[in-house]
Symmetry: C2
Subunit: 363 residues, 2 copies
């Protein structure tokens, strides 16, 4: 049976969506505010109990002196790098060629802050210690993204991470953690967030990736750094009169899901095994995930993989993914992110879906 | 009787607060989402029905081709000016010395966009046509704030506003409206928002001033301008994955209060008369308000005015204002903004309060 729906439509209607936490709808906000006291006061331009309590909670969790709530990671990270450049009098920072700053921010770092970038490693692999050793004295800060999302969520070994941190400290290069998915990697490293963050001078974490919040970010570091980041937040237009809709929901989903990261990781390992057993034309990157996410690569044109996924979805009710992107004319890929939904997919349905996928891929 | 409370405490506990719409607490969000369908989908990075419908509604209301929702006016206006500079190849913009951009944004326009500013008029008066005529050919854009908040919310005559607009058009200077309080001035000018905005190339409006929303802003102008503003929104870190908490509440409070602007204006006229009848040491700026706001100036040191207001508050239950700022050692002032609360203050209580204020000020 061939599905006549687009993959996005088929996924949307699927009985058993496999990826993510659920639909991004108004319920997410309503749930976070359920039972909240309507008389609780709004934060006011970064001040007030609602924002300060959450910032203190996150500073403690991340093991940093001070934490500042931002509307977005894009804003928080540009500002982190700008502060390090201004402190050192240098105008260069280093990061991976597929860093969020390089490919998803319309060059804000360059256009707004006039910061030059050194791209370390190549697009298909992690930054290694050997790459970091090549950095010159003109680099103010190295940004490391853990896990490296655009290559499937890969991680260096913890030993190598420590070696990179020591090298940077010795060379006077500040180290910033793009921790958009920091919570998600704690089970693999078997470390606390504070232990990992201790290797870094500053860290950004997100509340709408693995935690499934609405929006918002925390930037944490030493107190002077945090204070300076508030000045830049005002300059960027991010010092909103009221951010409690994001703060309360971030706090809610942090509490609700922070204890489930090990479960998502185990489930991602299981799901990746199913993909890797589905025939020679399809595989996961990395082969063995290190967190709740991985990429799926197939030796098939985009449209063929879309058709196969839509067919599987319509025949079995199992929505493996809602989209596919082309790598080139003959190969395609997509990102998988395991959240609350995975546990609700009956195992027999999931296995039936992968049996059918294997058939479709070998046609 | 002398109050032993601070003015802020006395105001907080007052039975009849005179200014504003109400407390900024979680209820504002809960009210906006009451009865909303939890299954309605979130906006996604500026796309989706929730955001597009509201943007279209505001574009139509403002009479502009296109409107873009922003988390803040700080972000929206810097971006508006940047686009005009880039279009024209000029690096200068002009505005009032007490513009929000000049005094409340930590110099974001200069630090992030490297735009030079020409300050027109002086701190105590409006920008006049004669000031605008002096602008050189190196100015890309003039920003006019209507009403000019920091001088009590003053307005030029509509004729002069039109003359300024015609002059700018003739000289190739783009004209941007800081309409943080645009809705509030429509009753005085007896114009629609679209009629006023037609004089300007672009306009920013706010949803948490007279409308009493939670946060958020609209930037409107021609389509190419709006499209370009989205690129800069991404660069600023303002293209949030979900802004529906602000969009839905902005829409809710727009609908709830847009029809009340004439009432607030009439009430502000009444309240200003009471102040101006309270003795020679106190007066409003402007003497006759042109919208729902005005400033109160007193020939008294800050602490003396605070004490008088706190005493009145404790004796009559009427909270005239929660704060006072010093102008110099002998003079002080505060801003008054009329909203929903004013109508709930019994007239006899209000008159009793002003009788007592008059006594206190003549002591």
């Amino acid at each position: 049976m061939k599905s006549s729906m687009t993959l996005a439509e088929a996924f949307k209607q699927s009985e058993y969506p496999v990826v993510g936490h659920g639909k991004r709808n108004f319920r997410m906000l309503l749930e976070a505010f359920e039972g909240k006291d309507g008389l609780e006061e709004s934060d006011m331009y970064g001040k007030g109990e609602t924002i300060e309590r959450f910032q203190d909670k996150m500073a403690a969790y991340l093991g940093k002196q001070s934490a500042v709530f931002f509307p977005s990671g894009t804003m928080a990270q540009q500002i982190a790098l700008r502060i390090r450049c201004d402190e050192s009098g240098k105008r260069k920072v280093a990061y991976h060629p597929l860093s969020h700053l390089e490919i998803h921010e319309q060059d804000g770092l360059k256009e707004l802050h006039r910061i030059e970038t050194v791209l370390l490693a190549d697009e298909n692999r992690l930054i290694r210690l050997a790459d970091v050793r090549q950095l010159g004295d003109d680099v103010a800060c190295l940004l490391l993204e853990l896990p490296q999302r655009e290559i499937g969520g890969q991680l260096p070994s913890y030993d190598e991470l420590e070696a990179i941190a020591w090298h940077c400290r010795g060379r006077g290069i500040k180290l910033h953690l793009d921790g958009a998915r920091l919570f998600e990697i704690l089970p693999y490293y078997r470390k606390t967030a504070a232990e990992i963050c201790a290797l870094f001078d500053s860290v950004y974490v997100s509340f709408y990736k693995g935690l499934g919040g609405i929006a918002g970010a925390i930037l944490a570091g030493e107190e002077a750094f945090a204070d300076q980041s508030k000045v830049w937040k005002r300059r960027h237009g991010g010092d909103l009169i009221s951010m409690y809709p994001y703060i309360v929901s971030s706090d809610h989903y942090f509490d609700r899901r922070i204890g489930k990261m090990a479960q998502y990781y185990e489930e991602a390992l299981e799901l990746a095994r199913l993909y890797n057993d589905a025939g020679e034309s399809i595989r996961t990157v990395p082969a063995v995930p290190v967190c709740n996410m991985f990429h799926v690569h197939a030796d098939l044109p985009k449209t063929a993989l879309e058709q196969a996924l839509a067919d599987v979805c319509e025949a079995t009710g199992v929505g493996l993914n809602s989209w596919v992107k082309a790598l080139d004319d003959d190969r395609s890929a997509y990102e998988v992110s395991v959240g609350d939904r995975y546990a609700d997919v009956p195992k027999d349905k999931l296995e039936a879906a992968f049996r059918l996928l294997r058939e479709k891929l070998s046609e």
